[in-house]
Symmetry: C2
C-alpha cells in the first residue's frame, strides 16, 4: 500500500522581530494510513492568527511554544478522506488544530465536525470560530458591555475586532472603531455600522478620541496595545473597563516596548483592565455558537475575508497580519 | 471681640517635578468667630499623603485640583475650642479635611468626632483612617485575597502598605513585601510578620521575586508603579489580580514615564488590574472601622509613625513621602 504524501509548513527559525519567509520551510512528508480511531483529513482552509507569534519564542505562556523543525499548529478546516473513527465519515467537514499542512492523519477525537448549513466552512475559522468566540467573550463576558454604553474597538477591521464591533452595536452600544486604512474604515462604516477612523491619518490619537466621544468610553476593546492603549486609557470614563484582547502592535518587538505612560489613570479613573484568552472559557462555546449561528442565519452579522492561495503562502499570510494586510479574517485556501 | 489668629499652608506654585519648599507658603490669617452651626477647631495632627501630589497640577481627576494661593486641604485631627453646632462640644476630638492649618472655623457638619478610646487620635489619620481603609479595601474588596494565596506588596512600609501586609497575613496569606531601607525591612519582618526585602539592595527585582516565590503571586498590591509594577506583572501567576493603589514612584515625573513593558503578560496570564480610590467605597467605612477597632483593641495590628513637628514643616513632611522618609504613617504634629 502506497503512502500518502503531504506537505506541511515548519517553523525552522525563531524570528527576531518581524517573521520572515526564511523562518518557515515547506516540508514533504509521508503519512501512514489511519489506524483504528484515526482519520485522514485533507485541509481546505488554514487559519493564520496573531496569537501564533507569541508561540514562536522560547517562553511558555498559556501553551507551549512551537518546536523548531515541527509543523506550525493552528486551526484548519478540511474534509475527512478516510475514517477509522466511529463518529466521523468520509466527506465530513471537520475543524482541527493540526495546522499548516495539506493533509494529516490523527486521532479522530481531536477533529470536530462542523455543520456547513450554519455557515461557509472557512467561517468556522473566523466569525463562527475562535476569533468570533473571542469577540463574543470580550464584549459579553469580560467587558459585560451594556446598551447605551460607548466602546472603543482597536484593530477593528480584524477578525476579532470586526465581530466585536457588530456585537456591541447589536447590544445598543455606541461604537468608535480604529483601523489602519481607508478601505477598512469604509468596510466598518458600511458593513459593521460603526463610527470608524483611520488611525494612520490621525496625528494625535487621544485628541481624535476626545473629538469623537467627549464624555469618554465606558469600555475599550483593545487588540493593538501600544499608543492605542495609551490613548484609550486617557479617553476612558471613570469606572471604565478595558478588555486586553491583543497587542498586535508589539508582538514583533525585539525588546518589550514601553507600556502605556497613561496607566496611572487606571487609579484616578478606577479602571479595570482584564486580559483574557478564549480557551479558558470553553464551557461557553456552545452558547456562542448557537447565538452566532442565529445571527448568521438572520443576516444580522457581516464578515469579510482576506485569502492567500496555497500552503506555501501560509507564512506570507501570517506575516501580513502584522502589516494589516487583512480586512476581516486572514485565511489560506488550499 | 478680638479675632482669633491662625496660620495655614498655601500652595503658591504648581510644582514641576518634585515639590520644593518654595511651592508652599505659611500665611497668617484671622478667623471670624463661629456662626450658628459652626465650630472652631484647633488642630493637633495633620496628615500628608501621596494622593495630594496628584492635586497639585491643573488636571481634574476624581476631585478638583488645589487652587493656588489657597490652603492645602487634607485630613487633620483636632479639638473643638468653640462649638455652635448641636452635636459637637468643646473638647471633642474631631477629624476634618480642612488641611494644613493651626485652627479653623467651619460648619460642624464637615467635622467628625472620633473616639479616643479606640485608638490614639493621630491613628485616625493612619491605621484607623483613610490609609487603613485603603489597605482594607484593597485586600478585601478589590483583590478579594484568600487564605493560602500569595501577595506581593510594594511600598510595604508606608501607611497603606504596612496595614495591607498585616491584613493579608491575618487572612492566612503569604506576604512578600518590598521597601526602600533596611530599617523598613526590619520593621516589616519584626512587626508586620512578613517576608520583606530592600529593593534598593536588589539588582534585579523580577529575579528577586522569582527567588522568593517561585510559583508566582496570586495578588500584587501596588503602591509604587514603575519598575515595581513591571516586575510584579512578570511574577504573577495565571489569573492573578493586581490592585493598582498608588504609583508613588512617578507622581513627581515631569513627563508621564513609560508604563510597564511587561503589560502584555496581562493577556497571556489573564490578569485583572484594577485601580481604586477609597472614597468610592464610603458605605463600607463603618465595617472597616469596627473591624480595625477590634484588631487594635486585641493588639493584632501594629503601626508606626514618622512625625514632623510644626505647621511650617508640613511641606517638608509631604516632600519626604517621595524619598521614603517615612516608616508607617507620615504625620505633622502641631
Amino acid at each position: 500500500m502506497s503512502q500518502i504524501r503531504s506537505r506541511e509548513v515548519h517553523l525552522v527559525n525563531r524570528p527576531a522581530g518581524t517573521p520572515a519567509r526564511g523562518d518557515f520551510a515547506v516540508v514533504e512528508t509521508a503519512l501512514d494510513p489511519p489506524a483504528r480511531g484515526e482519520v485522514q483529513v485533507r485541509n481546505l482552509w488554514l487559519s493564520v492568527d496573531p496569537y501564533m507569534r507569541g508561540l514562536m519564542g522560547t517562553t511558555r505562556t498559556y501553551i507551549d511554544p512551537y518546536h523548531l523543525g515541527e509543523v506550525m499548529t493552528g486551526g484548519a478546516v478540511g474534509t475527512v478522506e478516510v475514517s477509522r473513527h466511529p463518529k466521523l465519515a468520509e466527506g465530513d467537514l471537520v475543524l482541527s488544530n493540526h495546522g499548516w499542512r495539506d493533509r494529516f492523519v490523527a486521532s479522530g477525537d481531536g477533529v470536530h465536525p462542523i455543520d456547513p448549513t450554519l455557515a461557509p466552512p472557512q467561517a468556522f475559522l473566523g466569525v463562527m470560530g475562535m476569533p468570533g468566540f473571542t469577540a463574543w467573550l470580550g464584549i459579553h463576558e469580560i467587558a459585560r458591555l451594556e446598551a447605551r454604553e460607548t466602546v472603543f474597538v482597536t484593530g477593528a477591521a480584524g477578525a476579532v475586532g470586526s465581530v466585536a464591533c457588530q456585537l456591541a452595536r447589536r447590544l445598543g452600544a455606541r461604537v468608535v472603531a480604529s483601523a489602519g486604512s481607508d478601505d477598512k474604515v469604509r468596510w466598518l462604516a458600511d458593513q459593521a455600522g460603526v463610527e470608524a477612523f483611520n488611525y494612520k491619518q490621525t496625528k494625535h490619537l487621544y485628541r481624535q478620541l476626545v473629538k469623537l466621544c467627549r464624555d469618554g468610553f465606558d469600555v475599550t476593546f483593545d487588540n493593538v496595545g501600544g499608543d492605542h492603549l495609551e490613548a484609550a486609557l486617557l479617553a476612558m470614563r471613570n469606572h471604565g473597563r478595558v478588555v486586553l484582547c491583543g497587542m498586535i502592535g508589539q508582538y514583533n518587538a525585539e525588546r518589550p516596548p514601553a507600556g502605556p505612560s497613561s496607566l496611572v489613570v487606571a487609579i484616578t479613573k478606577r479602571l479595570t483592565l482584564r486580559g483574557f484568552i478564549a480557551f479558558d472559557h470553553a464551557g461557553l462555546e456552545p452558547r456562542f455558537q448557537a447565538e452566532m449561528a442565529g445571527l448568521i442565519a438572520s443576516r444580522q452579522i457581516r464578515w469579510t475575508e482576506t485569502v492567500y492561495e496555497g500552503l506555501e503562502n501560509a507564512p506570507a499570510a501570517f506575516i501580513g497580519l502584522f502589516s494589516g494586510a487583512n480586512t476581516g479574517k486572514m485565511l489560506v485556501r488550499l
